[in-house]
Amino acid sequence: MPDARINVPAEVPRGKPFEVRLLIRHPMETGYRTDDTGKQIPRNVIATLTCRYNGETVFSARMSPGIAANPYLRFFVTARESGELAFEWVDDRGVRGSEHAAVTVV
C-alpha cells in the first residue's frame, strides 16, 4: 500500500507557480498518549520532509506533534522544466519514506 499521495496538475505553464498537494499516511504519535496498560507511547512524528524538483530542494518542512496525523501539505512551486518532484521524509524512529510525481511543463 502506498504511504503517500502526491497531487500536481497534469500540465503546468512555464514560469508560473503550481499547486502541490501531499498526504502521507503516518500516525504522528505525539508522545503524550498512553496505551491500554498505561505505558506511554513514544513520540514518533515525521520530523523532516524535503521536496526536490529535478534534484534541487524547493520546499522543506520540519514538523512537530503539532501537525495532525496523516499530515497534509499544500504549497506552491515555480514551474521551470519538465521533470520530477521527489519527496523524502524521515520520522523520529528513523524510518524513511519517499514518493515522486512527474511534472510536465508546457
Binding site: K16, P17, M28, T30, Y32, R33, T34, Y53, E56, T57, V58, F59, S60, A61, R62, M63, S64, P65, G66, I67, A68, A69, P71, Y72, L73, R74, F75, F76, V77, T78
Partner: protein, 155 residues
Amino acid sequence: MSIANHRISRRRALRTGGVLALAPWLAARADERDIANIPALAAFLAGRKPRWERMRLDLPGLADNGQAVPMKIVVDGPFAPGPYVKVIRLFSQRNPVPEMATFEFPVAVERVEVESRIRLAGTQRIVAVATMSDDALFAAGADVVVTVDACMDGT
C-alpha cells in the same frame, strides 16, 4: 432637519475618528501581548519586531476537534525582484511543543501559501512568522476556540 443630520454626522465623525485613532494602538498592543504570551516566539524574535502585515493566518474561529484543525498561511506578493519568503514558522501558545512547524522555501516562489492540518491543545492563539531573504519579518496571528483538546490524556 438639516441641523439634526449635521449633528448626527458630526457625532459619528468624532466616534469614527476616535476608533480610527485608537485602532493602530490597540492592534500594536495585541501584537506585543502575543509575543509576551508565547515564550518560544519571544525567544525566536529575540527583541526583533516583526511587521504585522502582508501575511494572513487562516484558522477557524471555533474548532470542534483539536486533533486536526485546517490551517492556511498566505504571504502576499509580489516578491519578484525584491526579497522573497525564505522561512515560515508556526508558534503555538498552549501546545506542549510550541514550535509547531517550520516551512522553508530555498528557491523563490511567487505564490506563498501553505496549507496543513494542525493539532491544538486547547483554546489559544497561533502566530505565524515569515522571514524574508533580506531578514525582514512579517507576522500574523489567529485565535482558535477548541472544544476537544488534542492532548486530552497528556494533561
